[in-house]
């Protein structure tokens, strides 16, 4: 948790001159670290809404507005440019979060700052131990349903937050628990905070299996437009697509939630569709 007095720094640091150059550097770097961690937290929140129920639109909109606000400020600061360049040069991280790997692969150097660009997402996800233990496989299956296509455009990273694929609320809370633990432990010093977000693992070479997995996904599906409407306005995945996914990936693809009840209900409903038609 941020120490007292930080709040003032939040709003003031960009505007008034610090007493000494060294102090100024310290002040603003701690502020930008806090801002960065807030950005990362927000991005994780938006991404990790893997729920069977439609996510709360109000919450998603508020988080998205927060991200926009940070991004605007960082663009004014010039730090956005620096960050995107740094990420472009960096290797890809996280041996665990498969969705992140897919996204990372598409990073291009010198991307101009756009709202919610891919590189922003990457920064938010690298190496955070957000994934639940022992659920790596479910994670793969999960992201295969609500993944990002290889042709990810810079505006479309928000795949997921506004109600796209099946999601796991428990995973989200678990993930956030781990994250909170992480952040709380590391918030002592700026360096530790920064260390949390350091890239730890190099990217694996592009996985042909994953490529194949995503080959039939419609890239236009991941427009921000669709993302914000969930699947509502342009339902690219109708019930029959769902059936196909089911057959290829198994029931775990639909729900990484631990509750059997939802799985059974899911299958029941699918059976009803099949039988009904």
């Amino acid at each position: 948790m941020f120490p007292k007095g930080t709040k003032r720094k939040f709003s003031d640091s960009g505007e008034e001159a610090a007493p000494s150059p060294a102090a100024a550097r310290t002040l603003s770097s701690s502020y930008s670290l806090q801002r960065q961690s807030l950005l990362d937290m927000s991005l994780i929140k938006l991404q990790l809404c893997h729920m069977l129920v439609e996510p709360n639109l109000c919450r998603s909109v508020l988080i998205a507005n927060t991200v926009r606000q940070i991004q605007e400020e960082m663009t004014q600061d010039g730090t956005w440019q620096i960050m995107t360049q740094a990420l472009a040069a960096a290797q890809c991280p996280a041996d665990r979060l498969v969705a992140t790997e897919v996204l990372c692969r598409q990073t291009q150097a010198g991307q101009s700052p756009k709202p919610f660009s891919v590189s922003g997402l990457e920064e938010g996800y690298h190496s955070e131990e957000v994934v639940m233990d022992g659920d790596a496989e479910a994670e793969v299956a999960m992201s295969s349903l609500s993944p990002v296509s290889p042709q990810l455009s810079s505006a479309s990273y928000l795949a997921g937050p506004f109600g796209m694929g099946p999601c796991c609320e428990e995973c989200a809370s678990e993930g956030e628990d781990a994250e909170r633990h992480h952040l709380r432990a590391d918030s002592r010093t700026g360096e530790q905070v920064f260390g949390t977000f350091e890239i730890k693992h190099p990217a694996p070479p592009p996985d042909p299996a994953l490529e194949e997995l995503f080959s039939d996904v419609d890239p236009s599906y991941y427009d921000l437009d669709t993302v914000l409407t969930g699947m509502q306005s342009t339902p690219k995945m109708g019930p029959y697509d769902l059936l196909e996914s089911l057959s290829s990936h198994g029931p775990t693809a639909l729900s990484s939630s631990a509750t059997c009840r939802s799985d059974l209900n899911e299958l029941d409903h699918i059976m009803e569709i099949i039988v009904g038609s």
Binding site: M1, F2, K4, K7, F10, S11, Q34, R35, L38, M41, K45, L52, V53, E54, N56, L57, C58, R59, V61, L62, A64, N65, T66, R68, Q69, I70, A155, F162, G163, P166, E176, E179, R180, L183, L224, D225, V227, L228, T229, G230, M231, Q232, S233, P235, M237, G238, P239, L242, S262, N265, H269, I273
Partner: protein, 453 residues
Amino acid sequence: MGEDAESPKINHTFLRDYVTEADVISTVEFNQTGDLLATGDKGGRVVIFQRETESKGVSEEAGEVGDSGEYNVYSTFQSHEPDFDYLKSLEIEEKINKIRWLPQQNAAHFLLSTNDKTVKLWKVSERDKRPEGYNLKDEEGRIKDVSTITSLRVPVLKPTDLMVEVRPRRVFANGHTYHINSISVNSDGETYLSADDLRINMWHLDITDRSFNIVDIKPANMEDLTEVITAAEFHPHHCHLFVYSSSKGTLRLCDMRASALCDRHTKLFEEPEDPGSRSFFSEIISSVSDVKFSHSGRYLLTRDYLTAKVWDLNMDKGPVETYQVHEYLRSKLCSLYENDCIFDKFECVWNSSDSVIMTGAYNSFFRMFDRETGRGVTLEAWRENSKPRAVLRTRRVYTGGKRRRGDVGVDSLDFTKKILHMAWHPEENIIAIAATNNLYIFQDRVNPDAQTQ
């Protein structure tokens, strides 16, 4: 209150603390007379409580107030079932978001209950008599042999045990793409509104296959979406006026006489932002979670994350009163953002004379503010610390200065125990507080009737 000495008991706390998700109460509402109290839960069930009236002839002790009846369960029914949206492949929760009673017109009671997508009208009626002495049927209902009938008689109504029947009378489905957050019955007694994140519809109580869209804030391009509707309510007396609140902290008063689609507000209520306290969380904590007209219809009560505000309908520049509910959380906003508590939606209520407002907080605390004095009090809805009929003692969160016995530190607050839903009796000083899966009903024995201002 709760000052028992430690008694050697088997600790069953872990059993008590286990709460079935489905039992969590999600809405509480008194009817217009206050005799009935309805609660809805996450499992889609509605439980109606009825106030017991004291039987006539019972002598009252000096000083004791009459008609201080208790609320007992009157009826329970399953209002909504879990559903599935095949198009989006998403579940629709059966959780009851809101219940609103209709004004009573005959012996039966009607209420509207809604989940995320569907509003239902339920009829609650009593049956305490049944006809006996049919000519063509015997007592078990079997058809009699006509040849055995020798005389005719008129069936008479005989009293039986009281039966409460609840039947669905209307189902208002397919009106909302987004999640319904509010319903409000109009003072005309014929229509009601239902509001979701982006749209508000007006329905006629008798017509289920059509509704009028009166507000639509969905942008043409969803990428431009930055604001959603958080609550809406009809004016208590003027059937053409309603208000809706947004996630940006604004209130919009709309007049349906102005145009069919009330996208342009008649009045916009917004408090100018304090530039000194701006942070990344400013917008989130300004989001209005609940809006309620006063009984007089002159004021609006809103709740945002840290405060409760009273607005005068005649003044749109800012609230006339602001009450700090838990200002000590301002320095914790980042943690609360992290654990999602910052998105909790607290309700707020007026008392019957509009002199007191009440809202919930964390740690099973709820707050009441006296509008005349401006003073607030913190009370607790927690079984461990109260026995039935015990006097509630006020609580305090320690924020500095002299620490008193019983003060709770900010870091000891339990953020999982939130008081989100509550109701105030329309005429008397009786309040109903929902605390997770428990319902607390508190009565003011000292001043049972509302004080007139």
